[in-house]
């Protein structure tokens, strides 16, 4: 007694196209920034400047790639900046301690690298365990560990600055300033991390599970996704990436103090959101994050390129551009 026939429905094409357009958003904003940069200063696209900007965006960039996974799965990590400072401080202490016995050698640097990665994984695991096993809001957990890591590095440095032994620094220096084929190492590492991140997000079960958990934890759990494990992994992954970022950071400045990495968390999260990842979880894209990081870096660079206004207003211009960049991308997608 019901309607017996049903017209064949076609899959709706507009939905598809819409995604593509909104995806173009951040890229468009980036392109616009680059054009403005070129107009402001002919040196903007010079090899030197590009290398500088890309290399320095590598720290936040590497961290933001990890943050993309955490946010996609519905989490958050406010502790990354402090964590980086803490890892940098500990790495320096370990390397300095090893110099007397091992001499200033590659071995010392290697031990430093190991320390960085290990600590990153550990710190990430602490956050992850408190969130998953402890069942505490990620915001609170990482706000807490943010304070803890920051305090620890201040305490380790006795309120001052921890400096890497000068001879070790010379060995370690090429990690930031060197490169191959004229491409600086941080850029290479960032690119590798970003590409792997993008592949993991799109092509592996892990990435898919992150999105599923962020979208609907209950569904993920019902579908045999090991929710806690995946969630824990995102934090550990982020921790390791903070470790890698710190490994690139230490040779740049050769020191760590309580002001190291301040506000990196905000920058990393902002990059992720600008890139189109949803803050509440469920959808994330690594390449968007990369674009977001570049947008933020180029804004800073642009402000140095042309002394347009009082430096006091830099923050305001930055704010306006961030809002505009995202608005641009929203408008485009709304238009479709």
């Amino acid at each position: 007694m019901t309607l017996a026939t049903s017209a064949a429905r076609q899959p709706s094409p507009p939905a598809r196209r819409r995604i593509n357009f909104s995806a173009l958003g951040p890229l468009l904003a980036l392109a616009l920034l680059i054009v403005i940069g070129m107009l402001l200063n002919p040196n903007f696209l010079s090899y030197g400047n590009l290398t500088n900007v890309l290399a320095r965006s590598a720290f936040i960039g590497i961290i933001a790639v990890g943050m993309t996974f955490v946010i996609t799965s519905g989490g958050l990590d406010l502790s990354v900046g402090s964590m980086a400072a803490f890892i940098a401080g500990t790495m320096i202490i370990v390397m300095n301690l090893l110099v007397p016995s091992l001499g200033a050698s590659w071995l010392v640097v290697l031990c430093g690298l190991g320390t960085g990665l290990l600590l990153g994984a550990l710190a990430g695991a602490v956050n992850g365990l408190l969130v998953t096993v402890g069942r505490i809001e990620a915001f609170i957990v990482t706000l807490g560990t943010m304070g803890i890591f920051r305090s620890l590095v201040t305490w380790l440095a006795d309120g001052g600055t921890l400096s890497l032994d000068f001879t070790v620094r010379e060995i370690y220096r090429p990690f930031y300033y060197g490169g191959i084929f004229g491409v600086a190492w941080p850029i290479i590492v960032f690119a590798i991390v970003a590409i792997i991140g993008e592949i993991v997000m799109r092509k592996t079960p892990f990435g898919r599970h992150c999105a599923a958990i962020g979208s609907n934890e209950q569904v993920a759990r019902y579908s045999a996704v090991r929710v806690d494990l995946v969630r824990l992994s995102t934090y550990v992954l982020l921790g390791v990436l903070v470790g890698i970022a710190t490994i690139m950071y230490v040779p740049r400045l050769g020191s760590a103090s309580s002001s190291t990495g301040v506000l990196w968390e905000l920058e990393a999260i902002a990059a992720v959101i600008i890139g189109g990842t949803v803050l509440k979880g469920g959808f994330g894209r690594v390449w968007g994050t990369v674009v977001g990081v570049l947008i933020l870096s180029f804004i800073g660079n642009l402000l140095n390129l042309a002394a347009l206004v009082s430096p006091y207003l830099n923050g305001a211009i930055q704010g306006v551009i961030i809002i505009l960049a995202v608005m641009l991308q929203r408008e485009r997608s709304a238009a479709k």
Partner: protein
Amino acid sequence: MGVAVSEGRLTSPVLSAEKVSKSFGPVQVLFHIDFELRPGEVHALIGENGAGKSTLMKTLSGYERPTGGRILLDGQEVQFVSGADAEDRGVVLIHQEFNLADQLSVEANIFLGREPRRGPFLDSSRMREEARALLAELETNVDPQTRVMHLPVSDKQMVEIAKALSRKARVLIMDEPTAVLTANESRTLFRQIERLKREGVAILYTSHKLEEVKEIADVVTVLRDGHHVVTAPTSELSVDDMARHMVGRELVDLYPEKAPQPAAETVLEVSGFSVLRYAEDVSFTLKRGEILGFAGLVGSGRTELMEGLVGLRPAHGEVKVHGEVVHIRSPKDAERRGVAYLTEDRKGRGLILNQEMRPNLTLFGLDRFCNIFIDRRREEEALDQATQRFDIRAPHRRIHVGHLSGGNQQKLLLAKTMVVEPDIVIIDEPTRGIDIGTKQQIYNFVEDLARQGKSCILVSSEMAEIIGLCHRVVVMRSGRVMGELSAGDINENNIVRHAMGLSHNGGGRHDARH
């Protein structure tokens, strides 16, 4: 009536329940249920809304732990740790509420948690192929790449089914799979069920469409208030028997007397109305005391048209309420004009699942319950009235709406819409997932409204509902009105012809079933 195990069920049960009980806190929902499911058999579980069907199914498939009794798989006692654990052992459940991650694609949902891999990577091509094949078997045109949130409910249901089929079940448990499907889609599903049955899969199935049960089930088990009432071969039970067992009393005619012919006064006049991308140039009128049906195939744009009318979608065209031209830009505007819309999507758009019944009931038209502050007492009274008037059955009144049985959610949604006492009420698929007894109550309720001089637009894909209730019927196809039927012309044949777009070129081939 005791348990009537019939002859002819020779194979030993693959999954069975022994004196299974289930309580949520102090509220007992299932009482010592005995139950057997055999391979190659389609077993229907029926009962009123809130009888405990979904709970029993979840208990059998590992999503809930029984609080008493045992569950046996192949004669061995099992304790499923989780739904996933049960799935690993071949017991798969299709949930009543959708169990899909909205932001993920169809394909990602189908394989979620069991993705085929090639090395460390997802085997995308295989997934795409298999997803396509599964969906093709179900004869849906869903694109595996679309995100689930863009899908209509019936397609979501098909994706759920595809997901379950992909799990290669030995026992397939389906909780009201056909509630949101069209007859055609249901038919495809039944073909799949036949196939699985031949392959020796045991199928447990529930539906409020008793004709359907009669047609495809081999055995029927009836639950009432969490108690086992009867188990019998379908051949031994008529549809009326089933209904009687469910409700515990004799059911009189499903459809009430039609309300008296509406007055001449036109309360709503819509002309040249279009909703961006979904409906074009729609015109119709609604009279005082009239029940106006909207029929059409799924996707014909009825829902969007109504949403456009109450300001939920961008739309343009002329709308007159009580003869006065109005511009309705939001549901609030509509409410002020005495127009209320009841959505077809109770979970996504109708109810806040993580809140209690009281705030849900009063959310629409909250200003009726406050002077400055919300008057809690008046709210509680309204809830009392609503539970009575709509027979909403909840274990206790502070339960989260998400824990109500599907039918009771639907009743609450209806109650919520009626709180504003609209002059013109638009109800979209009001009886989805509603048991036969309650359906009758709802029909009576709608007739009563008309008798009181209210007007009602009924959007429904249940042809019988439209025919049984409406004074006049508008038939839509692809966003356009194909025709209007009144009084004596309202019959299935006419509606189908219009819905298929055959009326203009003088018939042609229509409905092969009749």
